[in-house]
Subunit: 180 residues, 2 copies
């Protein structure tokens, strides 16, 4: 994989707004974990805010709550088997990194590891936890972002439930004044 | 277009979790509007909750805030020109329904109209507005849902910013115990 380069933080939406499943990594004390997440949304360009649901039923929830950090990693179809494996097991029983061939590497701004094999990494610090109690809804500020330079439009996975994924298709560009 | 049928409310995620742009319709008093929205996420299966950012800079914001209702309509590539038109104009100046060939029809549970040409409609009532002041973030409960029976996997539009859309591609099914 080509060396990743820094992405301006207000451009994180280019990768997350289309709605791909992501792999969320976390660590606390001497424990680390990774989970699949499909319930997320961009909330602001600058600061770069992402809102997402991380169920308290997930083993990662405790690590994320305690550390106030995570990394949102963007897998592509190359990581489909890993996504399936991570999504159908629990970190309470196995080390998912080792089990599914995901290489943890040091992040820049947070202690949570990034996944080398993923197309992009968005390092996050907790911005607002006011809806965690009611909805397990976390609002993160992206404090560092790196993406692989190519392909420009990676083949991402979009989850429909029941083991069904939509794979990202063709890209169309239709510039129009007024579109952000 | 084939007649739409009711969708169980906990299955709304099949259409929104993959991350398509949607057309949000609203009305208040004698005014109606439609806007494009890409910043949304599923938050719960049952009740069926959707969180989304509706900027106060958008003309629809006032109608939605005042009525506490909206309809989330799912356009496909057939509505690309309408999506571009709606996203690059303001309802303060024109009737976007008439301008872009979108037919408003009566909804079941809310006063906001649904768009006939769209593949699916999710009628929403305000569930939680505690983050509207800080982030323009609304949490909706879907109270009625209708979808066209075919195609089973409609060709949806996923926004990347700067006039660039990803079109949904192939569908893969990989059932695995433990995947929800």
């Amino acid at each position: 994989m080509a060396r990743k380069h820094d992405l301006p933080l207000h451009e994180v939406r280019r990768y997350l707004e289309p709605g791909p499943v992501v792999l969320v990594t976390s660590c606390h004390a001497d424990e680390r974990d990774v989970m699949v997440m499909g319930w997320h949304t961009v909330m602001e360009f600058s600061p770069s805010l992402i809102g997402c649901v991380i169920s308290s039923a997930n083993h990662s929830h405790g690590l994320i709550r305690a550390s106030g950090e995570c990394v949102i990693n963007l897998p592509t179809t190359r990581q489909l088997e890993a996504v399936l494996g991570v999504g159908s097991t629990t970190g309470a029983e196995i080390d998912k990194f080792a089990a599914f061939g995901l290489t943890p590497e040091a992040s820049e701004q947070v202690a949570a590891p990034s996944i080398r094999e993923c197309h992009a990494q968005f390092e996050c610090r907790l911005h607002d936890d006011s809806l965690v109690g009611r909805y397990d809804f976390f609002i993160w500020e992206v404090v560092a972002a790196r993406v692989a330079p190519r392909p420009r439009h990676p083949e991402t996975l979009h989850y429909k439930g029941d083991g069904t994924f939509m794979v990202s298709g063709k890209v169309i560009r239709r510039n129009r004044a007024g579109l952000k």
